[in-house]
């Protein structure tokens, strides 16, 4: 719950906004894990002003805290005369709410609120002071001290190293504004350098955000993913990061990686760009929304209604970017598979994978498996390695159907190339990273409600190394044949062929 208050001539009007679980009704905000808390300060202020266009100022609660508008109003009424702008804190120094003058938004400076630290009142006050040209006081409220905060808040924010990352982006912004008279015109860069799928989602998002909403002009991206950045048609300018992507094991957190990476970014780029931390500020398995929509929100698009989402008409008309088909004759049916993903539990279970490959082989299909283990090759799969997006695209176009677990090849085939694709989801939530439904795309539904489980190496239920939520081989074989029939016409294999 986020509180927003419109102040009009001393009169307070309180509003409540909540992180949506799907319906995106008028009082709800798209729940975006890749948006820093400051992005929500901007959005709530924007929505509050839309409700009370004549307001002189708005007050927005700190997104890290669950705070109703009425509660915020109580805090405002007590104590000294309210000044604007100001940062309200708890009984100590933690920021509870921001009092923002209307002029900030009239001058088109709302996007700078994305840079707020949301956990250090002094730095936030300095940022607001630089933005408004006024002294910004910190006013204590009677609210009991908030520290110590939990590792993950009830709103889903991951604290830990993220606190330092948000502080660093805010402090850097203050320095930049002080040093550059032309700061108003400097670009914003989304710091979202990895991994492959995430770079793809941000690239697609950059294409879907209407130009007047796009608050960013650049994105920090690891050199290892620069081909993805380009081949997915990213509209932002790349700022190349010459260090390896963050480890998937969690040994280095996203927040720590952000802090460490700053020293490796071209100093000239840093001296002319506002860096916004756009890796995961929140747990993304909590939100039902697609990561493309989450990235769109991060980049400035409100995505305010269901129709605005990836599954609405407008976005569906723009995706997939291409309409790729295999030019080879329809028989034998050629299937390209990627059965392992970013972490061990995403991999399709080995035994079922062998059944899948053998079944397709007996049906006369030619199966190629990316990064195939020896057992799959023994079962009849031809091994292949992609290496780059060019090579992957060529491999995909050389096969009639792609079948992939929740990994980059899946998103690239289905959302960028528009190739006939079967999506395989197990421990992850399909809604976070699948494609809008269309002919030539199938997602055999995972059966169990335990996903997304957050499991990395082992199933949290039975501690085994495999996820039992993956669809059985028979469902996948059927889906491949159906997709092939849809995409290439006719029935690929008639009734009885399988017997």
């Amino acid at each position: 719950m986020l509180g927003g208050i419109a102040i009009t001539g001393g009169r307070l009007e309180a509003f409540d906004f909540r992180f949506s679980m799907g319906p995106l009704s008028p009082g709800e905000l798209l729940d975006s894990a890749t948006s820093p808390p400051g992005r929500y300060v901007w959005e709530v202020a924007r929505r509050t002003l839309a409700r009370v266009p004549q307001a002189d100022a708005v007050v927005v609660s700190n997104p890290l805290l669950a705070s109703r508008g009425a509660r915020l109003a109580d805090l405002l009424r007590g104590g000294d005369t309210l000044r604007c702008p100001a940062v309200l804190t708890d009984a100590e120094t933690f920021p509870v709410a921001y009092v923002l003058p209307r002029a900030l938004f009239d001058q088109g400076l709302g996007r700078f609120l994305c840079l707020l630290s949301a956990n250090r009142a002094a730095t936030d006050a300095q940022l607001l002071s630089q933005l408004t040209g006024q002294i910004v006081p910190r006013r204590q409220t009677p609210l009991k001290p908030l520290a110590p905060l939990p590792k993950t808040t009830a709103q889903g924010y991951i604290l830990g190293d993220n606190l330092a990352a948000w502080q660093a982006q805010c402090a850097d912004a203050v320095r930049l504004i002080r040093s550059r008279p032309d700061w108003r015109d400097l670009p914003f860069a989304a710091h979202h350098p990895n991994h492959a799928g995430d770079v793809l989602f941000f690239s697609l998002a950059s294409r879907l955000v209407p130009p007047q909403r796009l608050a960013f002009r650049a994105q920090v991206v690891c050199r290892a993913y620069l081909d993805i950045f380009r081949d997915c048609g990213n509209r932002l300018d790349p700022i190349v990061l010459d260090i390896p992507p963050v480890s998937r094991t969690g040994s280095v957190s996203d927040g720590r990686y952000y802090l460490d990476s700053l020293a490796h970014i071209d100093p000239q780029a840093r001296a002319g760009t506002f860096m916004v931390y756009c890796r995961f500020s929140k747990t993304y398995s909590r939100t039902p929304f697609n990561l493309v929509d989450q990235a769109r929100f991060a980049l400035g698009d409100p995505v305010a209604t269901l129709d605005d989402t990836l599954y609405g008409r407008a976005a569906a008309a723009q995706l997939p970017l291409g309409h790729s088909r295999c030019a080879r004759p329809p028989a034998p049916l050629r299937v390209l598979m990627q059965l392992s993903g970013g972490w061990p539990l995403k991999a399709y279970p080995a035994r079922q994978a062998r059944v899948l490959v053998q079944a397709l082989a007996r049906l006369g299909c030619a199966v190629t498996a990316l990064d195939a283990p020896a057992e799959l090759v023994a079962a009849g799969a031809i091994p292949a390695t992609a290496g780059s997006t060019d090579r992957l695209a060529a491999l995909i176009r050389d096969h009639h159907v792609v079948l992939s677990v929740d990994s980059f090849p899946l998103h690239f085939a289905s959302q960028v190339l528009g190739h006939p694709t079967v999506a395989v989801f197990g421990p992850t939530f399909p809604g976070n990273s699948d494609a809008p439904r269309r002919l030539g795309y199938r997602l055999p539904p995972p059966a169990l409600p335990c996903g997304p489980c957050g499991g990395y190496k082992a199933c949290p239920l039975d501690e085994g190394a495999e996820c039992h939520n993956h669809p059985p081989p028979a469902d996948l074989v059927a889906a491949i044949l159906e997709v092939a029939a849809e995409a290439y016409g006719g029935t690929v294999l008639q009734r009885g062929d399988a017997a």
């Binding site: 439904r437 059966a447 028979a474 159906e482 017997a499």
Partner: protein
Amino acid sequence: MIPPLSLRVLAFFDARFQSGPLGQAVGGGDPWARALDAYPARRHHSPLLQPGKALGRYDLADAASAGRVVAVARATGIGGFVLDCHRVGDQYLTGAECLDAWCDDDFGLAFRWTPPAGPATAADAAALMAAITGFSPLLADGRQVLVVNEPYRLADPAGTVALLRRAADAAGLDGLYLVATAAEARGGLLDAGFDALLDPGPAQWRSCKPAELLNGYTLLQAEAGQADGGMFDDTIMTYAHFVNSRMVDRPSRGKVLPRVMLDYADWPDHPQGGATLLASTSPTLYRRFLAGALTYVAQHFPETERLVFIDSWNHWRQRSQIEPTTQFGSTVLDETANGIRQGGYVALTRVGEPTPGRSPGVDHDAIAALCRQIEEGLSVPA
């Protein structure tokens, strides 16, 4: 807040919390004291929770209290209550009259009937129809929903279904949508004329193995007096396994509507052992259970029959209530609302998507047989 795609979430509701006719008929006095007057005798029995401030210990005979209950349920996204039909003399009482004033097309009343021992009679069916007629109905396929509990007690299921339908016609109802409490279609209940089945409760259908804590080690501990031996008298299921067992491979069970529950413990009614309990319950997993159930019915049921049942709104004596509690506030109610929203959204982005195995050009049965054959081949030692 109504979920999209004609999805309807119903909650089983105990209408005995009243001083009106139903409350008097079932014993009078304080129904809350009766429900909550139970204390754990075993270490693994969690105590009953207490009603929270939001609704308190309401009396449904008080119109304002009943209105508050319905308003909170509506705000959560629930589309109706399922009331038990209590046999009192030669008539049935449901308590529907307390709630009906607050119902409309978006929030209706369905009923659950437990057949009497012995064959059902025309008089019994007529009394049942008299009890459920005249209130805002909860409809499926345009017909009043009636859940038949413990249908295996029926000596002649087809005859009883026909009897109920005739009685409904005579009572002026526009038909009955009959739901039998059964886990799978194999029992012949759909052939007997029932329109759909409904997952039984945990005590009626133990859908997964007991929790691992009931192993030999614990048994030895108990025999040595170092653990509570009472846990071997009860059936304890881990919530996560229970939830998965309820959702895995659902389509193969036939036309079975999901029953979603946060918790279950019937130890107050089994003081000598034999209780069924869920352990390690989790509101987050409950939310996913609910969302998954909504997505499932949206994908597999016709638009007018998409029902999900929550067990329960206020069965405090079984710890399955989702009403606000003193101990946990409205956490569970909030997760219920979130689950309904999330399930509705996921369904909205999925329904209409072709499902594997439905395409007439592909022989799914033959493919399944081929995969089984290969699987068996892999199991044979080299």
